[in-house]
Amino acid sequence: MDDMYREQILEHSKYPHNFGTLDAPSVSHEEHNPLCGDRVRMDIQIADGVITDVRFSGKGCAISQASASLLTDELIGMPVEQAKVYSKDDLLELIGIPLGKNPVRLKCALLSLKALKVGLYGVGHIHDDDDD
């Protein structure tokens, strides 16, 4: 447990980076976690095939907020094609905490990634590999 709430996670959850919304995002998508009612919306600005800005908003636990915060930092400046294949293992490595095989906490950690993927691919075209 103490491993889970490391300094980096607490800092990002208390003072999240890129929190908010964009006025005219190229892509915007919100995902819900029906287990706990949490939601994360990702607003993404794209120019010339590159993500130029990202904002996230919503409510969630420390893990989901910190994960979204870390992910947005990573995305800014990333080509869309690269973002499309950004994997859950990439994100889990970035978060760097031992979530183990707890499917509930994995859902929290991966909610922002799901919002990103569904947003980039368009609803109905997402290959959902998050549901272990």
Partner: protein, 412 residues
């Protein structure tokens, strides 16, 4: 640690093998019995005995094992009937759980008795299992749903009965005890009011039957649904109680084996109640073990169990009041309230609260507890819930409070 109980809780805890373990290096404090209770050795042994010694299908075999299984299965039905004060064991239908029992009523009784424009009255504190089956019935039949709201204390706003529980309401479906707020609803009075306008009343007893003396005759209700796994019994078994005349007036729910009399190519005649509602091979060992759980609880005494939980609840309400930033959803005192306490903690998400408590060996639930409309009413997406049962002790509530202080410090 204050003494809370008329029975020896420490000795009783030893009857629950699962409670003897450590979680994350600390003794397990299990505070999630509202979701599912733990099982005493007596119930586990009973279930094992069935599978080891006399496992066979019921109601068909003429051989010894099947006779023994049938006898034990039907005897369990009788134990359950006595446990809730039913007139007859024929009024007890075995189901998988509360949810299936409510769906049975929604399909079988609802399909035959509810039509376009009829109203079904629910309350804002219902579990999804006592909302969604009625939404589905309303969609099939054109009936309308209405909800009794809450007052500032988290109790039903009974003033609304005058305008909402009126002619045209076919059914009032209400929880006996809220799984989130702990609120105990005045079911006997609601039954009288429902009957006065010609409505039936279904009571969701999932949180009451395990925790307090429940007498369906004294309550005057028409249907009572409850689950075995929340009352020291196994999962996969629950029951619907209904007045016999009502059951007899109802068409079947699921079709199949066991629920028939004569099957022709085009049609069939149906068995007497309760068999009419029990298609297919039931959860035999689980039903027998649920009967054993009723024996176990009755032996401790439901009034004693209720008193024990009331004492824990009082202690917990006081103890949690000292945790800064903690807000309890629902009644703040023990009056007409059971041992489930849901709360929010300023600045800490319920998932994080539960994860931090887990690190202390304290098991609580985080989420919406299958009551999204209720959480929306309180304008919170989710909450943390601690719930008590027969085996909990005050020391576990102290550990809960200490864990909550730790969570607050971590995030503030």
């Amino acid at each position: 640690m204050p003494t809370l109980s008329t029975f020896d809780v420490v000795a009783l805890r030893r009857e629950f093998p699962i409670l003897q373990q450590q979680v994350n290096g600390k003794p397990l404090a299990f505070l999630d019995s509202a979701a599912s209770s733990q099982k005493p050795r007596q119930v586990i042994d009973c279930l094992e005995d069935y599978y080891r010694r006399y496992n066979a299908n019921v109601h068909r075999g003429v051989y010894k094992l099947s006779e023994e299984a049938t006898f034990a299965f039907e005897r369990a039905r009788g134990k359950i009937a006595r446990f809730i004060g039913a007139y007859s064991k024929r009024e007890v239908v075995f189901t998988r759980n509360t949810t299936e029992a409510i769906n049975l009523v929604a399909y079988a009784w609802g399909g035959a008795n509810v039509g376009p424009g009829d109203r079904i009255l629910l309350t804002l504190m219902e579990h999804h299992s006592n909302i969604v089956p009625w939404q589905m019935l309303a969609q099939r039949t054109g009936a309308k749903l209405d909800y009794i709201g809450l007052d500032g204390d988290g109790r039903l706003n009974l003033d609304e009965l005058d305008t909402k529980l009126t002619e045209g309401v076919k059914l009032l479906a209400v929880t006996h005890q809220s799984n989130v707020l702990g609120t105990v609803n005045p079911v006997a009075m609601l039954a009288e009011r429902a009957h006065a306008v010609g409505a039936k009343i279904l009571v969701d007893g999932a949180q009451s039957v395990p925790h307090m003396p429940v007498d369906v005759r004294a309550l005057g209700c028409d249907f009572m649904a409850f689950s075995g796994h929340k009352m020291c019994g196994p999962t996969g078994i629950g029951a619907l109680w209904a007045r016999r005349s009502l059951l007899e007036s109802m068409p079947p729910f699921l079709g199949g084996g066991s629920m028939i009399e004569v099957v022709d190519l085009d049609s069939s005649t149906y068995a007497e109640v309760p068999a009419r509602f029990e298609a297919g091979t039931p959860a035999i060992g689980e039903a027998i073990a649920l009967g054993e759980a009723c024996d176990f609880l009755a032996n401790v005494g439901m009034e004693a169990i209720h008193q024990h939980e009331q004492a824990l609840l009082g202690y917990a309400l006081d103890r949690l009041a000292s945790v800064e930033g903690l807000a309890i959803l629902g009644p703040q005192d023990t009056k007409d309230r059971g041992g489930a306490i849901s709360f929010t903690l300023d600045g800490v998400h319920p998932h994080d609260v539960a994860a931090i408590l887990d690190g202390e060996g304290v098991a609580v639930r985080a989420g919406h507890h299958c009551t999204q409309p209720l959480h929306r009413y309180y304008d919170v997406p989710s909450s943390t819930r601690a719930s008590f049962y027969i085996y909990n002790v005050a020391e576990e509530i102290d550990r809960l409070a200490v864990g909550l202080e730790k969570a607050r410090k971590l995030f503030n």
